[in-house]
């Protein structure tokens, strides 16, 4: 793969992030007068004026934008209106908790979803396939917030075996991970199944069988590497839905992560924190898609060539 391909991809990712930064600026200004939002409608005009002066809200909009952009690039994203700490710091201390939940969820999703999909495809139209796919549709149909509450009701309230809130022990992971991984694993199972089915019908699979390669090796060495290409493509969406699912799940289980912070910050009108959180989510999505793009070219030699020709 060519170096130019990388540079171009990275450049595009940076451009996307710049657009998102601008979008956040515009969206937050459109949401009304920040000073009024913080102090409420009853505030006296003198306090409002002091606040506007302090946050630079009384400058012309283009000047505010230039200051904002230069601050962003200096890593200064403002202070939390609530406790005056650096917004970046407030968000950063929540990241490890969110990440640890995401890793576990991603591992469970992939370890269940992909093998289930492969098995379904290999035993296409049998009982095993139908049972797996019925379960997948069920898993897909249950909304996150409902499953979470249902689990709390059963395991915490009725049977009292699992903690309903917090993140202190491995027991705390069980319900949030089930809540998030159910729908994700279902998506992966269905997608893997259809990808595998399509690949297994390709002429090169027939060639591999005809040249005397044992079936297990045909699956492992010929079908799976090809099926991996479409599966990696949805991994980009997967990261996105993990983040979105995380916001809901963290709130249901009072998980002290970024998702929960986002909701509290929105409720408290802590604009700087909201801004940092959104930027963080955007950057991780863009990065995930960049990685998917690069992995795609690495897995499929045809794409690799196509892309270097395109440049």
């Amino acid at each position: 793969m060519s170096i130019r391909f990388f540079i171009r991809k990275i450049f595009r990712a940076l451009l996307t992030i710049c657009l998102i930064v601008t979008f956040i600026f515009v969206a937050l200004r459109l949401s009304g007068d920040s000073a009024l939002l913080i102090f409420g409608p009853d505030a006296d005009s003198e306090s409002l004026e002091i606040l506007r002066e302090a946050w630079g809200l009384n400058k012309p909009i283009w000047q505010q934008y230039v200051i904002y952009i230069s601050n962003v690039f200096h890593g200064d994203l403002g202070k939390s209106y609530l406790d005056g700490r650096d917004a970046v710091e407030v968000v950063a201390e929540r990241i490890p908790k969110t990440l640890s939940l995401m890793w576990v969820t991603a591992a469970v999703t992939l370890l269940i979803g992909i093998p289930a999909g492969i098995q379904s495809a290999l035993h296409h139209n049998t009982k095993r396939d139908r049972v797996t796919m019925t379960l997948a549709v069920m898993g897909l149909s249950i909304p996150n917030f409902f499953l979470g509450v249902l689990l709390i009701l059963l395991f915490s309230v009725t049977w009292r075996v699992l903690p309903s809130a917090g993140s202190d022990s491995w027991k705390h992971y069980i319900m949030p991970v089930i809540t998030m991984a159910t729908a994700e694993a279902a998506v992966f199972a269905r997608f893997t199944r259809s990808a595998m089915l399509e690949i297994l019908n390709q002429p090169y699979i027939r060639t591999a069988i005809a040249k005397g390669v044992p079936w297990k090796k045909v699956v492992r060495e010929h079908a799976l590497p090809n099926a991996a290409i479409p599966i990696v493509t949805i991994a980009g969406f997967f990261i996105g839905s993990l983040i979105v699912g995380g916001v809901i799940t963290e709130n249901v289980f009072a998980w002290p992560g970024v998702g929960r912070l986002l909701v509290t910050a929105v409720a408290n009108r802590d604009l700087a924190v909201v801004q940092v959180t959104i930027l963080l989510i955007a950057v991780s999505m863009v990065t995930a898609n960049l990685i998917v793009d690069i992995a795609y070219g690495w897995l499929d030699p045809r794409v690799r060539d196509l892309r270097s020709e395109e440049l």
Binding site: A210, K211, P214, N226
Partner: protein
Amino acid sequence: MNEKLTESVIKSQRAPLLQISDLTIDFNTPTGWIRCLHGVGFEVYPGEILGLVGESGCGKSITSMAVMKLLDPRARIGGNVRYKNQDLLTLDENGLTKMRGRDIAMIFQDPVSSLNPVHTIGRQVVESIIYNSAIPFLNNKVMGKKKTEMVKKHQRVTVQAARIEAERLLNRVGIPETKQCLKQYPHELSGGMNQRVMIAMALAGRPQLLIADEPTTALDVTIQAQILELIRSLRNEMEMSIILITHDLSVVAETCDSMAVMYCGLIIEKGTVEGIFADPHHPYTRGLLASLPRIDRQIDMLLPVEGSVPAPHEMPRGCAFEPRCNVALNVCKIRQPAPTTESHGRSISCFNPQYGGFQV
């Protein structure tokens, strides 16, 4: 000509390499089982190139797929397929894996999509050599933990040997830059080159029978001639038999020793290529040959075979060709004609075969 005649003489003295008799194939469809092959029988003799000819959908490809057991496992196969007195239809998965590539190899119509797009040519050819050649490979089951190191070393050596063999094979099938080619991916090569790679992979196990399923249909005419020439020369060099499946009679005339004409899941005429081209007996074969442009005769108009092939679920009770036949008798509507054998291995399934006077 001479070569072909001696072939047919040798043929009568030797035992067939592959003997197919009464082969039937049924597919399960939502409306029930549909029979696509109605009892096909033919023999392939050592060193012979047999052309299996017919329109698309007549069952030539599924016949060859049944021999290799490559059909959907839900298809029902009946009859007998004997390869050197071994019944291929009763082989278990293990036996099939051993047979495929080593005894019988196969090449396909579209070489580009028949090669795995994410593996290099080298990897695919080496794989074929590893699974089929005489180079000793340690079975995974033998691997004890202590021996692993030794086995790894051994495998490296054998993979190296397989690489050298792969280069030799690619060289043999006429690929110029073999070292370069081993590193390339199928999409980087032309169709003709890919078909050469397919042939090289098929040769890896030194099979005694090669099934070529329309190997040149997807290629342009000059490449087609080169590939056919390659196949012919390989037959002579490696003394293997070939089943060449095609719908192109000119390919048969150029390449094959004997031929079998299929129509609607049945073989309606078989014999030597000269025999059938000089004097086709079955009205369908006559029609096919009459629709060919000839360089040796002045023809004003090409004659098509009128009508179309009946669908598998509405096959007539009698002879399948009866509705399109211009010499049909009353009996043709009622019963299917059984194959009758004549001299030189010629056989016809027809109640009213035509003799002599074949002139377009």
